[in-house]
Amino acid sequence: MTDHELMWRIAGGSGDGIASTSQNFAKALMRAGLHVFTHRHYPSRIRGGHTYTEVRADSEPVRSRGDGFNCLLALGDSFARNPKEGAYYGDEEVKPLAENLDELNDGGVIVYDTGLLDAEDIPNFEERIEENDWHVYPINLREIARDHGREVMRNTAGVGATAALLGIDLQYFEDLMAESMPEEILEPNKEILHYTHDMVQEEFEFTHDLRVPEGSHDEEQVLLSGSDTIAYGAIDEGCRFIAGYPMTPWTEVFTIMSQALPEVGGISEQVEDEIAAAALALGASHAGVKAMSGSSGGGFALMSEPLGLAEMSETPVVLVEAMRAGPSTGLPTKPEQADLEHVLYTSQGDSNRVVLAPGTVAEAYEQSRLAFQLAYGYNIPAILLYDQKIGGELMNVPASHFDREPNPDLGAVTTEAELQDAPHGPGGKFHRYRYDAEDGVSPRSIPGQKDGHFLVTGNEHNPAGHIDEDPTNRVTQVERRASKLDAIREFLDDQGTQTHMGPDEADYGLITFGSQQGTVAEAVDRLNDAGHSVKGIGVSDMMPYPVEEMTEFLESVDEALVVEMNSSGQFRGLTQKELGRFGGKLSSLLKYNGEPFEPAEIVAGFEASIEGQDVPEQQTTYVPAAGD
């Protein structure tokens, strides 16, 4: 973070093009040489209702949303307009302006559409402007858009206006528009962009200091979301089959895959429910294709039985779980990290599965690939656990990050030549589930392979796959399946999947998992700058858990604060369970109001935890160490 960061928020109604406008804005800034990061907020409503996206841009890498924001573009909510007297959504008209003021920083810039928003509806607006030293630019964006094109183009007018105020070269926007718009709408949009830009420059006297920072990249960047990188990781790892059923926010991955797979000769199936979806992925995988499925909490709950079958039958499969705030349908469009225990332990019996939780958009690509490598290399289900935040946020990543070889390797399978020498039971049944397999991994044959037929069953079975309840067989098979997790642990240790932050030696630790990693990283830096001695770790391996690495980390600090987005401290609980100690060293900073942490909240929470102060925002909760 530098002092010259831009935190631009565009607000309006759902369906008003907020997402696409902000995406282009972020891309324009990335092309201008900046590092960008977006944070999306939207209601579970298709048209209307307050929604915003924040674009944070800086010359230094940005890893998180910022603390509040410093520039607001408030468009009208076209679906809240002209409400009938007493209409249900009648008081929403002014929301894109009113709702955002609480988080606008001192000295911030406001541009709003006077064509649709009446600032007089906001109580004490003038006083607040003065108090916070805001710089306000009321512009009739609606009228400009109408006069030069169509009313829906007021987004473009808004972008032109902020570009003028912040000093952004219009060429970046023009190029992006030219790449995505058909000729008929490109021309009026360009005109609106320029008209508003020039008009603002001419008619307003700029009272604010905020200007877009300058920056440059050493290499080409791309702007992607976590949903993009998960899908791309899967494709690069040779996944050519997906089955799913829509549920926010998993739908994003499903959509990207459904559009990409037919182009590479893959298959996507939207099916009747999530049980079917997971079962289809198992069927395709069994028949020799790299396959995935996924859902969000409630849909994943339905998958728990096929998941157990995958474990018992050792059918490789990758499931993605996109967390949103629960229980039940919860907050459908808001992030939370409260499905951790659900994915670790759902389904009957002892769990033999891999659970990985990527910490950033870039990491999600690697871990999506890793999930396939582990699933197919060890014939085990692997779950990629992420949340609505990572799924929907955009971040710039060097394009070279994706410049890697595809890996279609099907993992632990036999060839027909190997099948000839492999042990077979009476009747010619291949011994698919051998007791003496290295690392517990007994290779599978694929239907259609000569001399490879065997029986898969969800019941306990003997080496040929026949149902077998003999106690010795049971113990041998249970132990063999479990031993794969030890082998996977070793493999993951070599990969170095956890992310360490801050100095090697420090008095205090910040621990987190999944999507809060970037925010914690920023908090670690700020705390050290402020004179604290803090290091951090973002953990991505949920199962098998990195016992050694975490033991070392915790032994090296006096105290540690676990940061996670849920109310029960699930990751802290997992850490204590896996390590069997450190209960007295671990305290929790929790947030579960539907919004991810801001770095300042972690800084404040940390200070509270070591100095015994109150956590300032009632939105976050501090839970002291056990025994305190």
């Binding site: 395709a284 099907l410 259609g448 898969v456």
Partner: protein, 312 residues
């Protein structure tokens, strides 16, 4: 050489090949109708000219689900009600496999009812055999979706208040392109129908009446059946959907009234299979996907070349 050389291998298939040399632990009761399905399928299998390594038999849970313990071929004894989604994905992954799914009436019309409807609708090229004994066997005799109205069981002590599911009508309206009913008491007809069903290009549903002498002594499945296709009394055209529907609903009614009507109810040889439909719109490759993973010369695309431009 193909990675799946069992597929299409031309040779004389020995009847005994599908039969385990070592009988697995017999877990069906003496006199169970499931033996009738086993016998008919074992006779039918060699006739379609596929060898054990190119057949995938997916079952659900229940006494019926244990069918593949008695079979030599690729087998997948899955979970209650889910044989169809597993089977149809395997078929999409490798359309050259002979895919058969099987399970009980509880499995197929109860817990898996949704999948049944949708698999029929999609018209996957596969065979689905439902062991219809009008009872839950493995869980010890509870009422099933095909148990007649009024049927008493331990969990419905006052008799079922529900009308039974009409599986043939359901298959027909859902879109199955081959619908038949046969009975364990007639292995010859059963074999013939199974051969036809497996040779049919599309979703072939066979409601297979089986008896459960342990829990369901009242069911009509023991009664001599009438083969509607051979009977002058039931002259109808099974390629005409309206006539087929009328015949199917008559058979469904008469089953509970004492007359067991079996045979082919509907045959639509023209409807394209799901695979063909998907290939036609460019959503499925012509070559089996599964083959590709064994083809060293195949050029695997990567997102860096294909998709990254749009993010720049």
């Amino acid at each position: 050489m193909s990675a799946f050389s069992a597929i299409g291998e031309e040779r004389e298939i020995d009847r005994e090949e599908f039969t385990p040399t070592l009988e697995p632990q017999a877990t069906w009761c003496p006199g169970c109708g499931d033996f009738g399905v086993l016998k008919a399928l074992k006779q039918a299998m060699p006739e379609i000219g596929r060898n054990p390594d190119e057949v995938l038999l997916v079952t659900g849970i229940g006494c019926s689900g244990k069918l593949n313990s008695y079979f030599e071929c690729y087998g997948y004894h899955s979970i209650h009600g889910r044989s169809l989604p597993i089977a149809r994905a395997a078929k999409l992954a490798n359309p050259e496999l002979e895919v058969i799914a099987a399970g009980g009436d509880g499995d197929g019309y109860g817990i898996g009812g949704n999948h049944f409807m949708h698999t029929a609708r999609e018209n996957h090229d596969m065979t689905y055999i439902v062991f219809d004994n009008e009872i839950f066997g493995l869980t010890k005799g509870q009422t099933s979706p095909t148990s007649p109205k009024g049927h008493k069981s331990k969990t419905q002590p006052h008799g079922s208040a529900k009308d039974p599911i009409r599986p043939l009508s359901l298959a027909l309206t859902s879109g199955a392109s081959y619908v038949a009913r046969t009975a364990a008491v007639n292995p010859n007809q059963a074999k013939e129908i199974l051969v036809e069903a497996m040779q049919h290009d599309g979703f072939a549903h066979v409601d297979f009446l089986t008896q459960c002498p342990t829990w369901n002594k009242d069911a009509r499945q023991y009664v001599p059946y009438t083969d509607i296709n051979d009977s002058d009394d039931y002259d109808f055209d099974p390629t005409n959907k309206t006539e087929a529907q009328a015949m199917a609903s008559e058979a469904e009614q008469s089953l509970y009234e004492g007359e067991v009507l079996t045979g082919r109810f509907y045959v639509d040889a023209d409807r394209p299979s799901y695979q063909e439909e998907k290939q036609a719109i460019g959503e499925m490759p012509e070559e089996p996907l599964a083959e590709r993973y064994f083809d060293d010369d195949y050029e695997w695309e990567r997102t860096h070349d294909m998709l990254l431009d749009r993010h720049k």
